[in-house]
């Protein structure tokens, strides 16, 4: 019911949402988060980015997050696709799409999944700026966002 994909290739936003939403006529709400690359970070221009991950652990970590979302809310499918490798500004990095009968659950679960992904899934961003390459630092905001959800595991 839930799927997780890590890939170098761009993903097809339409296909992901269409396949999820047309899966079941009991679905009343689909909430989708798309995270995309910004051309600025911490005040510097960013021309491109490389995303590294830990193959194997990434999928396991995401599976744990999706299982927890299913435990907390009555959902009808979650799709997560995350890109790795080279990215340009405006490229989608990640999509999280959640289907449910009612919107409240879909909104909460979608935000929960991306908040946990940001702090628990082993991805690392390296940016290229006019001053050279640099690894992106973890944001305090992400840890705070995750903590909102309380003790989950």
């Amino acid at each position: 019911m839930n799927t997780i994909q890590i890939q170098k290739e761009p993903f097809d936003i339409t296909a992901i949402q269409e396949q999820l939403r047309s899966d079941n006529p009991a679905i009343g709400a689909v909430v989708t988060f798309i995270g995309q690359m910004r051309d600025m970070n911490e005040g510097d221009q960013v021309s491109n980015m490389t995303l590294e991950h830990y193959p194997g652990m990434t999928e396991k970590a995401l599976q744990v997050i999706l299982d927890e979302a299913d435990r907390r809310w009555a959902l009808m499918g979650i799709r997560v696709v995350h890109r790795v490798g080279e990215l340009q500004p405006l490229d989608p990095i990640v999509i999280v799409a959640v289907a449910s009968a009612h919107r409240g659950e879909a909104f909460q679960a979608c935000e929960f999944v991306i908040d946990y992904l940001k702090t628990r899934a082993p991805f690392w961003k390296k940016e290229r700026t006019p001053e050279g390459e640099r690894w992106v630092d973890a944001r305090h905001a992400d840890a705070a966002a995750e903590q909102r959800w309380g003790k989950g595991r």
């Binding site: 940001k118 082993p122 991805f123 690392w124 690894w135």
Partner: protein, 84 residues
């Protein structure tokens, strides 16, 4: 053998992505693996030194210093994650 992996900033700082450590009685948990790596001095001491934030996993699951390690395990070290 214990498979040891390094990612992202750590991989670059240490100049290695992966190595095999001989299993040994004193390598009983992640903390003792770190002790051994830190003993190499130089950049190793820096990366695993006090005040550094290094996350760790055993067999692809988040671990901490007291997580047990045995022959055949995969132990990974990496900085705080920044995906999404």
């Amino acid at each position: 053998m214990i498979e040891v992996l390094f990612f992202a900033r750590l991989r670059e700082q240490l100049g290695t992505a992966r190595e095999q450590l001989e299993a040994a009685p004193e390598l009983l948990d992640v903390g003792s693996v770190i002790e051994k790596l830190r003993g190499r001095c130089g950049v190793w001491e820096e990366v695993f030194g006090d005040g550094q934030t290094v996350l760790m996993a055993v067999n692809q699951q988040v671990a901490n210093l007291t997580t047990p390690v045995k022959d055949g395990d995969e132990v990974a070290f990496f900085p705080q994650v920044t995906g999404g």
